[in-house]
Symmetry: C2
Subunit: 377 residues, 2 copies
């Protein structure tokens, strides 16, 4: 139905749900003819009670794991599938690409049907709450009245809390993975700096770039800064230490790369720069900065959390996370518990920082499996 914009990167197994048109945004403005990309695993049972929704971090697409429609491994391949911690033999699992992304759902890189050209900065001001409402539209379109569980990772942890707040009774359980109920100043500073690096790149050009003039330098800095905050110093001490690059790397410019850690960042930047739309990056990062459940608790984030109605919850985090620090997951558990939820907080000793949930499946897998296994449906 919709033609893809030049900077959209849509996985081949994507399916789509059309959003109501217009789809009004929390902060004003609306989308017309917008859509949300999703993928699914397993089968919905007759009672429709075994559905699990996964809400992602900033950059992942909806392809969390391989399936018949796309055999490529997904970004959470070890976590999701038959017999895996999120067991598709038992659960009907839906992963939604967030509204505002460039990976299938409508975002700043998508074609505006009113003009036939990408939205770019004409895209309305995106909030996490808009992402949550768009995800809910997918769930309803699939005929699901109530989710067994909504799982949110990182930014998706924010989206999941917004989902539960906006749609009381929409899920019986919630797993918040390295998420938070509000953005705090260190993470706001990091994301602000990432946006500034993109905006200062002359090729960003107020959002009007193309393949030939693309804000590659700004995206390089933004991505490297992201990776620095996604992992942990402790992990890097053991992984890279002070090991230098081989002489034959061809790097001979003044003040160029010398250490393995620099080459690691360079590899991440190269893979990311052209695979994620810069304008979408600006919109999604700012949506995170704006997110604050305290808005729904008279200025008190704990009251905002306590206003959420969900039966059971698990908030997981790791001690080495500097972007969504552990006390934020503790706060999620405490706040939900204050609202009557049977909420558990789990601190894992993973060295991999904020990204641990993507790589430390040995720790995160059993925790998530154990919580899901104990749910009835």
């Amino acid at each position: 139905m919709n033609a893809a914009g030049p900077f959209e990167r849509i996985p081949p197994g994507s399916r789509f749900v059309d959003l109501p048109s217009p789809f009004e945004f929390k902060r004003g403005g609306a989308l017309h003819g917008a859509r949300v990309a999703y993928e699914t695993w397993g089968e919905l049972d007759a009672a429709g009670g075994n559905a699990v929704l996964i809400l992602t971090g900033l950059s992942p697409n909806a392809h969390a794991a391989s399936h018949d429609g796309d055999p490529e491994p997904g970004w959470w391949e070890a976590m999701l599938g038959p017999g895996k911690p999120i067991d598709s033999d038992r659960w009907f699992v839906i992963c939604v690409n967030t509204l505002g992304s460039c990976k299938g759902s409508t975002g700043a890189a998508s074609i505006d049907p009113a003009t036939g050209a990408p939205y770019r900065l004409a895209f309305p001001d995106l909030s996490i709450e808009d992402c949550a409402r768009a995800a809910h539209a997918v769930v309803r379109a699939l005929g699901i009245e109530q989710l067994a569980c909504v799982i949110g990772n990182s930014m998706g942890g924010m989206t999941a809390l917004a989902y539960l707040h906006l749609h009381p009774g929409a899920a019986r359980a919630h797993i918040n993975v390295s998420g938070s109920a509000q953005a705090l100043p260190f993470s706001i500073a990091i994301r602000s700096l990432q946006r500034e690096a993109i905006r200062l790149d002359p090729h960003w050009n107020g959002g009007d770039y193309d393949d030939a003039r693309y804000p590659e330098n700004g995206m390089r800095i933004a991505r490297k800064l992201g990776v620095v905050t996604y992992r942990s110093a402790m992990e890097w001490d053991g992984r890279f230490g002070r090991v230098r690059l081989d002489d034959d790397t061809g790097e001979d410019e003044r003040f160029g790369m010398e250490f393995q850690v620099e080459s690691y960042l360079e590899g991440h930047a190269k893979r990311f720069v052209r695979s994620f739309d810069p304008n979408c990056y600006l919109y999604l990062g700012r949506a995170m900065d704006w997110f604050d459940l305290a808005e729904y608790g008279g200025g008190d984030v704990m009251r905002g959390l306590a206003s959420i109605r969900v039966e059971r919850a698990l908030a997981i985090g790791v001690e080495t996370d500097i972007l969504f620090p552990l006390q934020q997951q503790q706060q999620v558990a405490d706040g939900l518990r204050a609202g009557g939820c049977d909420a558990e907080f789990l601190a894992l000793p993973s060295p991999q920082g904020h990204d641990a949930f993507l790589v430390d499946i040995a720790r995160f897998g059993p925790a998530i499996r154990g919580f899901l296994d104990a749910l009835s449906h």
Copy 2:
């Protein structure tokens, strides 16, 4: 003698010591007609035994505190002076502007006497060890045979260890303030990213910028990234929270500043961008990345530390420091102790991160005073 380069910022109370000419660098190359800027407080006693040397972090000048030659407050005003923790009624205190800086000592922004133009990237590859040897030249020029104590903050903590290694017996005691014996990958990654932001700025132009075409954007990103790592998330949670800027800040560009923490970073960037030479920033940051006392311990940093001969030492750090984390000061104390030094490690609960020694005088002052008071001379 030397004319200042256009990007040198030399405090009015500076005095100078000429370095031997040529002054050979560790990694090759040499300076001709180079000099080191310094300032002093108090009087050298008849035996010449009460001298204390302060070695600074990356950006400070030699004006650590006010004195008759320059009544302006210095960057460690609350720490140094008559009756203060570093008591100039008792100690003859010398603060040296590091070699490679743009604040009086010869660096990339200084005029190369061979060409009459700034060195820029013709400046030789600077190492921390070169900075230490230049500081030692000042001490010797002042007629001091042995320092009572060498104090090094941050990068200066590295320089102090190099000083002690290169000049056995040159000091009886050492205070290492938020320093380290080697650079680790997280801090290397941060400094590499700062250098990349500067190098990617088209106005950097291979080091050949002027007032009209100056790498302001690269320096903005580099400085903001620095400030993010100099403080701590904990401090910012309490200090800024999610407080927004007043509407009348005149900030109305898309994706511009909204939160107080962003304005705080902006203020730091504005003050810094034109006050520190970009090329000097590249040279000094890389010197820190290169620094590794393990070079003098057969590849083992503890053996490198144990090779240092000093009678007493204090290594201080704070738990919230992410750039020079606390375990690095613990390592300094442990390594010096293994070499026979009476070395103490002190962990302070300051919330201000790496910068705590500049602002948390209530904690750092008594620790430094107590250590100095107990020294004989």
